[in-house]
Amino acid sequence: MSEPQVTVIGVGSPFGADQLGWWVVDGLSQRSELQPFIADGRLRLLSCDRPGSGLIEMLQGSGTVHLIDAMISNAAPGTVRCLRDNFATYSSLLMSSHGFGLGQALAMAEALAELPPDLTLHAVEIPVDLSVSAGLQRTLQTLVISLTVTVISKLSTE
């Protein structure tokens, strides 16, 4: 087994559309093109339920990390924002638990200089009632496909 070069982390909770991070990771785990990378350990897929500060530990070990989480910002459900820096700006919009959510964990990791060198947060807008529409499901399918391409591209060049 190799050390993981790419880690994809789906963050969520069991409540409605807040599970979307897990669904994307499940979708990636079923892509046949990714199986060789999963098998040899270069691609690590993780799902976690409101990890709080535990996220900082999960960020370690890979140069490239993709995080998937739900966001509520009054944009159209299904809108995807890809953030590569200034995570603290969006911390209040990400779903959080006990006042220490993903935004705070990233801000703390940044303060401790423990962010991975290549980190992308894929924040997907969900409605306030956490319902899952057909449009949101299509967005997630598209995100699985685009992440598959991104991961293959990254691992094929290393």
């Binding site: 339920d49 500060s53 535990g54 530990e57 006990h98 006042g99 220490f100 705070q104 303060a111 401790l112």
Partner: protein, 440 residues
Amino acid sequence: MSSGVGMTESRDVSIRVPVLARVEGEGALHIDVRQGRIEDLKFKIFEPPRLFEKFLEGRSVHELPDTVARICGICPVAYQMSAVHAIEQIFGCDPGSWVRRMRRLIYCGEWLESHALHVHLLALPDYFGCASVVELAKLQPEAARRGLRLQGIGNKLIRMLGGRSVHPVGVRIGGFYKAPDDAQVEVVLRDVRELIPQATDLVHWLAEINLAARAPAQSFTSVALRHADEYPLNEGRLVSDRGLDIAISEFDRHFVEHQVPHSTALHCLLHDEPYLVGPLARLNLNHDRLPASVLSQITGVPLALPSTNMFDSALARAVEMLFCLHEAESILCNYQRPDRPYVDYQVQPGVGYGCSEAPRGTLWHRYEVDADGRVLSARLVPPTSQNQARIEADLRTSLQDIGLDQADEVLRLHAETVVRNYDPCISCSTHFLDLRVRRD
């Protein structure tokens, strides 16, 4: 949010903290000062009732460990431990020494995870004048890293036996669903050993900061479990430093829960008086049960026990973290994988009691079960509801002590610091619903 009128000794002040930050769950603070005296003071818990005691009625006892784990994301193991001990008491089930050791081990994981979270993420920012742990991490990066590592090893211990660190699913009546293999144990044991020096450093670092110098001692009763020869986790008698020494089944004869209008959590009193549960109370009553390996590493630490200075609580948590690592090392280095990680039992009707030491203090359960193993009634008395009256008493004393003529912002911050120091777990404590039906 607060407003003051004038700056004289007898001014009127109203302090309102509508949502307390850096506590688990949703609570608020309401303090009115009139003519230099505290006229009204309420630690308000307004989180909606969660009704877990009612949810449990009618369920099979087999569902209990997974269901009660859902009460709290920070102390699920405590709920599982109190529940399985109560049910095993009813069934006359002795799970044996291997299960007993593993239960201590998973509980050590929970204390480490919870104490490290509280000391570093929730409490310490107050003492360094920081609004959040992110600010603290910039000011004290090594302390923040140490806190994360200690929290991390706690999570690993829980994951090893519970399958996952939040709401673990590995606990069952009679033992565990799965025993860790030797390779897993070896990895975790290595990590435990690496962290013992860091926990020792944390104790000495907190002693140097001397948080206790910020407030004088108070008068209060400490309550905790006490075991014949161990630092208490899962077993023991309920004792206090004022003469209480009872079996856990006698809880109701001495402790009375009652409702107050400003809280969705019941207040609990011992002989009509507030009392303290939690790390400082535990250490006060059980410091002679700390193993020599721990005592040798805290020699010279200026912590005079028993202590009635509530700001010694962080130091007490640090000492308990060090204890947990030594206890985990001792259990793991003698680990032997059993043929089966649980024992069988016969379902029987009856009433049983479980009492264990959650990170925040004593967690008492009582269940009545029918002949089919279904829960007829459940009562859960969590530590935060037990500490509520003590928190309010502490606030009265502490605010008078720093002087009610202080600026509103100083009073507000000190009041919040006092509350956070107890590490209240509000979601755990809100079980009841006062239902009144009026029929005309």
